[in-house]
Amino acid sequence: MPINESDIEKIAQLAHLEISREEVKVFAPQIAEIVTYVEQLNEVDTRSIEPALGGLTPEGELTASTRDDVVAPSLGQRLALEEAPDAAAGHFRVPKIL
């Protein structure tokens, strides 16, 4: 099995997800099955193919990948904070961090 229960726990921790022991037991074999399925791709010989990296449109065209150093209008403080779950004194506000 390519994925075991401790992998699931670690991924959950890295993703800041809380999952119970029971859920780990349920998800581990399911995710392992998905990974095994995807791993079939490893059988394809890709030695002569360039890795497809980012910055392409769905049609395979290069996106506008660079720009000049020119300042463009920003949203401004009010709009930037408008959708924030919590904001105060011109800032995003979150529970205390170090």
Binding site: K10, L14, H16, P51, L53, G54, G55, L56, L62, T63, A64, S65, T66, R67, D68, D69, V70, V71, A72, P73, S74, L75, G76, Q77, A80, L81, A88, A89, G90, H91, F92, R93, V94, P95, K96, I97, L98
Partner: protein, 504 residues
Amino acid sequence: MLYFRLKIFPLELNMKNGWETVIGLEIHAQLSTESKIFCGCSTHFGDEPNSNTCPVCLGLPGALPVLNRRAVELGARAALALGLQINERSIFARKNYFYPDLPKGYQISQYDQPFSANGELEIMTARRDEAGHPLEWAPKRIRITRLHLEEDAGKNVHEGLPDVDRFSYIDLNRAGTPLAEIVTEPEFRSSWEAHDYVNHVRRVLRWVGASEADMEKGNLRCEPNVSVRRIGNETFGTKVELKNLNSVRFMQRAIEFEIERQITLLESGGKVNQETRLWDERAQETRVMRSKEEAHDYRYFPEPDLAPLEVSVEFIDGVKASMPELPEERRQRFVQQYDLSFSDASQLTSERTLADYYESAVEASGNARTAANWIRSELLRELESSGLAASASPIPPQELGKLLRLVDEDKISGKQGKDVLVEMFKTGRTAAAIVEEQGLAQVSDTGEIDGVIDEVLAANPGQVTSYRSGKETLFGFFVGQVMKASKGKANPRVVNERLKAKLS
């Protein structure tokens, strides 16, 4: 007090007792662009919090980054100035971690294919005496592993805001500011070597216009990693990373503290843990921030929203061609061409505008040595007290040159020259105009001075007799009288010569 002594004394012995320090450095320098690295928001410092933000740097869904060409160019200048090889193809990668100042949940950085690598840089470094004065400067080669491009995170703010015991506040104006991260091999053997390297990098980055490199403003940040080992050991000790160092001085203190902490620990049979520690300036100590077990697993992967960064050989050659003579080369040239001492040449090449100023003044004055002395002792004092760079000096170098010519040609005395310089600095007027207006022109004409001397001698017959009968200490009295009678305008050198002739 006794406890303190007992505690410190054996440490000092240990330091000399076969331990070697090994330090590597990571520097983050903000590149001097107008707009952010992946969006058009301004990088201007000190604006209203969160005002310079947009969907890209706020990490809103669907927003796409577009690379700022100027950031690439400045990164290239920095890389070349530090002796790195620029890679024609590099790849942006996502570095994933959760922190409130990182809105996307990842930082766009570079990982296995960085913008530049394999650097070799020669710096000047010196051991210091107990007062911190350099003993002897010597060159040292530093291997720089890589310089890559990345975006900065936002800032956590607490000061002056309500309920800071319960809340943290986030300002994302800085999020997305372009950075060059510069990583060295474990090359440094003392905190002074690290200090000299950071100063070298800071000077070079400012010199080529890549970064303002001001640690107080936070646009240059240093993160040293420190370990110790027994001299002769091939393998490195366990290293500790240090953070929260807002000046080169803090960095040195943190390194020194860490060296002593690690040696004490090892000598008493303990083990150094691989961890990240924060420098607490108030307590003058480092404290654990996170241990290796909590170390981040960043899960780097190629940034799908950005094409690989490709730069042509022509681009690299173009940047090379536009590079100025670097400070270290210029310092060496100053020593050879102008016959300056190491410390004079170093000071005059501390900033590019100062070095330019000096060379213009040399040309205008025709005297490299005098120009160096006057700039170092007189002009820099005025510039420093008014907080100006040499390029903003109210005295243009050509005018300083003219002033120095007046002194060199005995038109005015050195003392008068210094007063004129202060006046020029204050008013922006030329030396000639001030000399003219204040009637300062020094008298070197022998006939005129002879006349004054004759008057002085005639008025003091008693002193003349005493002098001639052996009371030679009166010579100074005569010089003083002549200078006074000439209202300070007589050339002291001519006065001395003529007085000697007339009194003998």
